[in-house]
């Protein structure tokens, strides 16, 4: 069966508000850059289009209706995946592997600044009978999870604060980032407690932005680019959706998703065979939970290692050199594509002052409170 590679990337920068573009226009901006980068015309060369979106983030009962025009998909095969960007990449990967499609465009964006009542919409995802009637700010679930994770793994709050400091500093070298900064651990520790032990600076601020990646079959990849990035493995999984039943201390979905991706990529020793990673950090402790779940460091050691600079850009295993969600901003369903974009830019040698010496990278996403679902993709040159 054919291999699958990335032949084009298109993206906008990540900013808190984008009043000058509508959702159509921000999608068109990213899509037209991706098609330019891949050197293709969507009206002739692209066989299938995939958008990743959820209705309530956008404000339409069926958002799928409002996507084709700005992607160039009028009267073409197109679907909407209700999931993170990497779920969209998974569908594109499978469509190409069947041999039915050669070039597939995958899009995800965030126009979350258009949504005035974000927290009410997050609460609207809670179980309507057992959890939602208790109301309150929905992020208390992250507070419950962080407490359990710190307790079980022995990680300290300072360890989580180091993640925030590292990512916001990394973001200083990412021209796309919207929330970069030189912070100190104390600054993070003294920020307003919101859902103890979760503090204000532990939470990635919301951001707008759009990312489009063009996937192609092996034959088309060789034809279109001389800096191909191959998809070596991809996996996606969910723990149970019940708050009352799930594993609070470990990211089980990340364990299962990365396991599936490693199996496909024939990776037995992730720590050694992968050079760097971009993992979800919508909350600071999640980055630690996710690197442990993906077996990129020994279990329950991430908190200590981040304090020693193990995951820094010049550390033993760089994590989130792009600045992550904490540095770039939380792009909701586009977070997965934001992570994958950084891995692709690194492997193409186009990461500027963030450039790492690397051949294999991993991107891992989480769908946010209150879900226990995530996806993982391993890219290589």
């Amino acid at each position: 069966m054919t291999r699958v590679g990335i032949v084009g990337v298109g993206y906008t920068d990540f900013r808190s508000v984008t009043p000058e573009v509508s959702w159509k226009e921000i999608m068109y901006k990213a899509a037209s850059r991706a098609y330019h980068d891949a050197g293709i015309d969507p009206r002739r060369d692209v066989d299938s289009f995939i958008t990743c979106a959820e209705d309530y983030w956008e404000g339409f009962s069926i958002f799928d209706e409002f996507t084709p025009d700005q992607m160039g998909a009028v009267l073409r095969p197109m679907i909407t995946t209700c999931g993170d960007g990497i779920y969209g990449l998974a569908n594109a990967f499978m469509q190409i592997k069947t041999g039915l499609m050669d070039i597939v465009a995958v899009e995800a964006h965030s126009k979350i600044s258009d949504l005035i009542t974000y927290k009410d919409v997050v609460l609207f995802a809670f179980d309507p009978v057992y959890n939602r009637p208790l109301g309150g700010h929905p992020y208390y679930v992250a507070g419950l999870e962080m407490r359990k994770y710190l307790g079980e793994s022995g990680t300290t709050e300072e360890g989580c604060a180091h993640v925030v400091v590292k990512n916001k500093k990394n973001a200083m070298r990412n021209p796309l980032a919207g929330h970069e900064g030189d912070l100190t651990v104390d600054q993070v520790m003294q920020s307003q407690p919101m859902f103890e032990p979760l503090k204000k600076l532990d939470i990635a601020p919301l951001s707008d932005g759009a990312v489009v990646l063009i996937l192609a079959s092996e034959e088309k990849v060789k034809e279109l680019t001389d800096t191909p990035v191959w998809i070596k493995g991809i996996g996606w999984a969910s723990d149970t959706c019940w708050l009352e039943q799930r594993e609070w201390s470990r990211a089980v979905y990340a364990e299962l998703a990365s396991q599936n991706a490693y199996k496909m990529a024939k990776i037995a020793y992730p720590k050694k065979e992968i050079d760097f990673a971009e993992v979800d950090d919508k909350f600071s402790y999640k980055e630690l939970q996710h690197v442990e779940a993906a077996r990129l460091c020994p279990p329950q050691s991430a908190g200590r290692l981040v304090s020693e600079g193990y995951f820094d850009q010049n550390g033993a295993f760089p994590v989130n050199v792009s600045g992550g969600s904490l540095g770039c901003g939380n792009l909701i369903e586009a977070s997965g594509l934001q992570r994958t974009l950084e891995v692709a830019l690194q492997l193409r040698g186009e990461a500027g002052t963030r450039q790492l010496d690397c051949e294999t990278g991993l991107a891992l996403s989480w769908r946010g409170v209150p879900t226990a679902s995530g996806a993982c993709i391993v890219l290589g040159v």
Partner: protein
């Protein structure tokens, strides 16, 4: 491209209101499909959920809430959503999960609980419009179907009496379906005298909103042996979307359905659909849509579907049995879960398990779904 076969199907009853929550409905449909295929959840390696607007069930990111009922806990689980087209697009997603080699046995489960939207799902339909161009006009969804029906009747000079025959046929066929919500013996006059909602659409021209769930199990060719000696092969898939601006197309012919059909027929090696297809399940949320979609599926020339219906060609014992299940008009319209009366029905027909609804010696079947703002077509061709 690996061969893919459907090996089991299941569905709940379709009803205006069900006591079960969305998850519980999914469990019932999945359990029925597993029982029919003689499998257990441990034999399933990926799960695809298809469900239409979150605004019906009233749960944001509804795919996450449904996952344990779909059998997705601790599994490779994903939701796809293309409006009304989800009913056939979700099984197509199940097809590429298996045909790509990523999965050996994939469970596809579609669900809709429209009764959570109180007092009527209509208020959720109020948000499918463009907020700037259309919501200020405060449209009712039936308006645009009335406009499409009006245009279709005008261009081909089709009379309402012929269109009403479809409603009579489907609601009658549904008398043989265990899940039927609105099965009834009615006459053309009943349809023509029913309450006018938005001319030319009247009460008995429309399918009812429903709660319901449906499931299908797809297995790779090399895994089918031990499961069943009666597999139904997925031989053609096609899906297509048209522009957002429904005012930018002439509504008399669904070009997006034709493109999806051509894609599926090319893959299935079908050159003369009318001759080669033994049973068809076009999407029939309205009676005129069955005719509109028969033409979109290239089963007959433009404007001729009404004649075929009048001549009885589309009856169960006709040359081209259409909607033998009773369709959305008779069994019910839980949007995504209509998979049960479209893809599910074609599976049961070709596997010879359609009971009283069985069409004699059906070998090749086509099912189709339609959705969004009159803009999405998904088509699947199956053969036994």
């Amino acid at each position: 491209m690996r061969d893919v076969a459907c090996v089991g199907a299941g569905m709940t009853i379709f009803s205006r209101r069900l006591k079960e929550t969305g998850k519980e409905m999914c469990f019932e449909a999945v359990r029925m499909a597993l029982d029919e295929a003689g499998l257990e959840l441990k034999d399933i390696d990926t799960v695809v959920c298809g469900s239409a607007p979150d605004a019906f069930d009233g749960i944001h990111m509804k795919g996450e809430n449904l996952l344990d009922g779909c059998g997705g806990a601790k599994k490779t689980y994903m939701r796809v959503f293309t409006g009304g087209g989800t009913g056939v697009l979700a099984p197509i997603a199940g097809w590429w999960h298996v045909a790509s080699g990523v999965s050996d046995v994939c469970m596809v489960i579609c669900e809709e609980k429209m009764s959570s939207c109180f007092p009527h799902p209509q208020s959720a339909f109020g948000h499918i419009w463009d907020p700037i161009l259309e919501r200020p006009i405060q449209p009712n969804l039936v308006w645009i179907f009335a406009m499409e029906m009006n245009r279709y009747m005008h261009v081909h000079n089709i009379k309402k009496e012929d269109i009403a025959l479809v409603s009579v046929k489907n609601k009658g066929n549904a008398l043989d379906h265990p899940s039927a919500q609105l099965a009834a013996k009615i006459t053309v006059d009943d349809v023509l005298n029913s309450e006018v909602m938005a001319w030319p659409v009247q009460r008995l021209d429309i399918s009812p909103p429903s709660d319901g769930a449906a499931a299908l199990i797809f297995a790779a060719g090399d895994k089918v042996g031990p499961i069943t000696d009666n597999p139904v092969w997925v031989e053609g898939v096609g899906w297509c979307i048209d522009s957002t601006m429904w005012t930018n197309r002439d509504l008399y012919f669904p070009q997006y359905v034709a493109k999806a059909a051509k894609m599926a027929y090319k893959m299935a090696g079908i050159h003369n659909p009318f001759k080669e297809i033994d049973v068809a399940e076009p999407y029939d949320p309205f009676d005129y849509k069955e005719l509109h979609h028969m033409e979109g599926l290239l089963l007959c020339k433009k404007g001729e579907a009404a004649n075929l219906t009048r001549e009885g060609v589309t009856q169960r014992d006709g040359d081209l049995p259409t909607c033998p299940s009773g369709g959305l008009l008779g069994v019910g319209n839980p949007i995504a879960a209509t998979m049960g009366v479209k893809a599910g029905e074609i599976y049961w027909q070709l596997a010879g398990k359609a009971g009283k609804r069985q069409v004699p010696d059906a070998r090749t079947g086509v099912c189709q779904a339609w959705g969004d703002l009159m803009q999405y077509g998904s088509v699947m061709v199956m053969r036994s």
